[in-house]
Symmetry: C2
Subunit: 202 residues, 2 copies
């Protein structure tokens, strides 16, 4: 590789890392524990990456954990163009998926070709949700807002009129498929929270 | 391992991931690009992890990149108890290091023993800065606020009266030692910024 190519690749890598700075400004529907503000997608991505690393230490996972962590760090970058979408929204998911794909193609495309190809493959793996790594990563991603809402007395569930049944139907199967031990824990917590009034009335 | 131990480990893992939520409330001295607020340490940790992944795609690194990424995700957790310390502070660094070690021992100690041991070893590796992974990770960590300040017309350098000479003397050697290609790029950017008035007068 020529020296000029090396310099161009470094400049494009920096342009990419500055472009993704925008993820710090994308707000989600849940709040950090005890905070008044909504969390942004950058800090969320950090927390689920550490969560995945932590789970890998206690569970007998036969997956490439580093690949799952990398997916979690990148999977929400499309929100820079497409915004956050509330997990309990009823429709528009196909259009949403297309918009996020367009977004990540643009954003990864700022990085050098090799980086863009690598990151897009991670994103598509997560999006398809078929490999064991993607299923585990999706389970971790789905669980985090549940844990925050449980710590915030209901949080976005109460704010948005979401019932217990809707939560368990929407997030349960995906968490159980990717990390059954985690779902075993969460199911009990959700049952307990139901009796504390953390959900909208059914 | 018994079923009861598995349940206890899952509960402790969840307690840990909820404890580290506090990192979202630790404010640093730099701001996201074009933003009025200061960035927090959780979103910073995310950005440098992705930055490290990106650099690994274009550079011929003979290191375990996944280990460097894991270090970057964890290395600032001590700030939950010890707060952020401005990189250009003149003294108090030894006390600071001890306070951060006490903090991460407390915080990792919430997680199951195996997780705590693994994470503390990553933290100590980063802190010592002797392995190639730690040197690379430290270079990435040091570079990110430089890139944000360059994108913000001087940012925390002007706000805190930091000169060009102090920036290059404080961050230059560490970035060059861990990622010489990155320092080659930044040095030129810093020189250019000097002529644009991004630093306090010498």
């Amino acid at each position: 590789m020529t020296q000029n190519q090396n310099i161009a690749d470094m400049a494009d890598t920096i342009r990419f890392v500055l472009e993704i700075d925008k993820l710090k400004g994308i707000l989600r529907k849940v709040k950090p524990i005890g905070d008044l503000r909504y969390e942004n997608t950058a800090e969320h991505s950090w927390q689920i990456a550490v969560f995945a690393m932590s789970l890998a230490e206690i569970l007998e996972l036969s997956i490439d954990v580093n690949r799952a962590v990398a997916m979690l760090l990148l999977h929400d970058l499309g929100e820079i163009d497409a915004g956050d979408k509330f997990v309990f929204a009823q429709d528009g998911w196909e259009e949403r998926r297309a918009a996020e794909l367009r977004a990540v193609e643009r954003i990864f495309g700022i990085a050098p070709a090799r980086t863009a190809k690598f990151m897009l493959s991670l994103w598509m793996d997560f999006d398809a949700g078929e490999t064991a790594e993607a299923r585990f990563a999706r389970a971790v991603d789905r669980s985090m807002p549940v844990l925050l809402n449980l710590s915030n007395g209901g949080g976005s569930w109460l704010e948005n009129g979401v019932t217990f049944e809707r939560v368990t139907a929407r997030v349960g199967p995906e968490i159980e498929a990717g990390c059954p031990e985690l779902w075993g824990y969460l199911k009990e917590q959700l049952e307990a929270a139901r009796h504390k009034g953390f959900f909208a009335a059914s």
